[in-house]
Each structure stands twice: as C-alpha cells, then as structure tokens.
Amino acid sequence: MGAFAVCSSSTCPRRITVLVVEDEILVRLSLAASLRDEGFSVIEAANGDEAVAVLASSTPIEIVLTDVNMPGSLDGVALSRYVRSTRPALKVIVVSGRVGQAVATEVADAFVPKPYDPARILHAIGRLLSGAPE
C-alpha cells in the first residue's frame, strides 16, 4: 500500500501529507522514513505543542498520526481533541502502548497499539483515506 495507491501521482495534484507527532526521535525518524518511502509527504513534530503550531499554519495536512505520552502542554489525547475541534476534516490516528483502544477511538479515527509494525500504520492510513470500515 502506498500513498499513490489512494491518489496516484498522475491524478492527484500533490501527495497526501501526514503529520507525525512523536517525542522519541528515533521512533519518529523511522516512522517518517517508512511513510516517505511509501510516497507520503511527512511533517515531523516532536510534541503536541509543535503539532499545534503546524496545524495553525496554512500547511495542508490530511492525516495526524500521534503518540499519546509526550512532554509539553498537550498529550496525544488532548491533541486529538484539539484536531477534532479545529480541523474536523482531518483524520487522526492515535498510536500508544498505554492508552487503550476505547479511549483512543473516542478521540481519534483509528488506533494502533505500540509496539507496532509500520505496515499496520500504513494499513490504517489506507483504510482512512479510502473510507473503508475497520
């Protein structure tokens, strides 16, 4: 599954953009690289506050992929609620090893437990972009 499986380069004016919010640099680096390898445009935020700064800018974004436990004024759950209230068209995926699926899906469109295989992330993104049921 790649970004262009949903929106090919010949039919889409630009690539799908994913905002990755993760405070562990090596996890973020690896996940961002996996997504870029699949053809997505990726914006990296090191915490919820950085994510809010990006979301408040004019940067086009389709998907927010966020960890839950992060330093700063917003954790992933609060960030998801912020996105829901300010950018309701955005799809939100919560990734966590501590928050359960019930909590995550209350505030997000999809939940992927940690530790995860990047393929699960890609599957979740593809499902959200295609509108397919979980």
Partner: protein
Amino acid sequence: MSQDDSRATPSQSPQTVLVVDAEVLVRMTIAGYLRDCGYRVVEAAGADEALTVLRQTELPLEAVLADVALPGPMDGFALAQWIRDHREGLNILLAGTPARSAERAAELCEQGPELARPYEPQVVVDRIRRLLADRDKPGDASAD
C-alpha cells in the same frame, strides 16, 4: 546554474543532513526544501534529539545544520563542539544572528561565517553543496 536547475539536481546517492532547530515551522520549511533538492534529512527539535541521532554511528550523516540559539543546556555552539570531539569529519553549519555569533562560528564551522536565520533556503542548499563538494575534493583532507 539557475535556481530551478540547482533544485532539480538530486545527488546520485542522497547525502544526509541533520537539521537541528527548535522552531518547528522553520525546521519543517528548510527540511522540506533540502528534501526537494535531493538530500535525505533527519530532523531534530533540539540538541538532545541531535545527540541521540549523532550517537547512532551506523546512521550515515554528511552535514549538520544547527541553529546557534537552541534552547536547553546545549546550544548550537556546544553541539558543534560535541560534534568536533565525537564525530570528526562531519561538516557543521551553524545558523543564527551574525552579530551574536560570527567569531565563534568561524572557529567552529568548517566553512567561514554561519548562515543567517531566517533561512534563505537556496543559500542553505548552495552552502551545503559547496561544503560537501569541498570535503570530497582529493587532497583537501580538512586542512585544519
């Protein structure tokens, strides 16, 4: 070379630049520009994240572009010194306000004065390109 020409010239094997900047919108912009120019980019939101990346010695890095005014106990100058001490041969570009940092940057950077923030993206790309080209010249062996 026109700007369009230079932006459309990716390296045959992408070189990796570590961008260290605590302002996400600045980091995002310059990282995106460098990627458009064909570089691989690793983004760090501060010196602590940069050190985590730099300690991954299996991760190939050719250059570091760091803001001098990083928050926390380690600013860009201290980060550059750490790189000098632990990652010999890795090119460093410091960016900041010239009046604040020119002398120290000149001591620490391998190439003259530091870049000015806010970044002029093409200037950054040209500087990185020159830096890496100079490094790869035979016999240049980091004359310092």
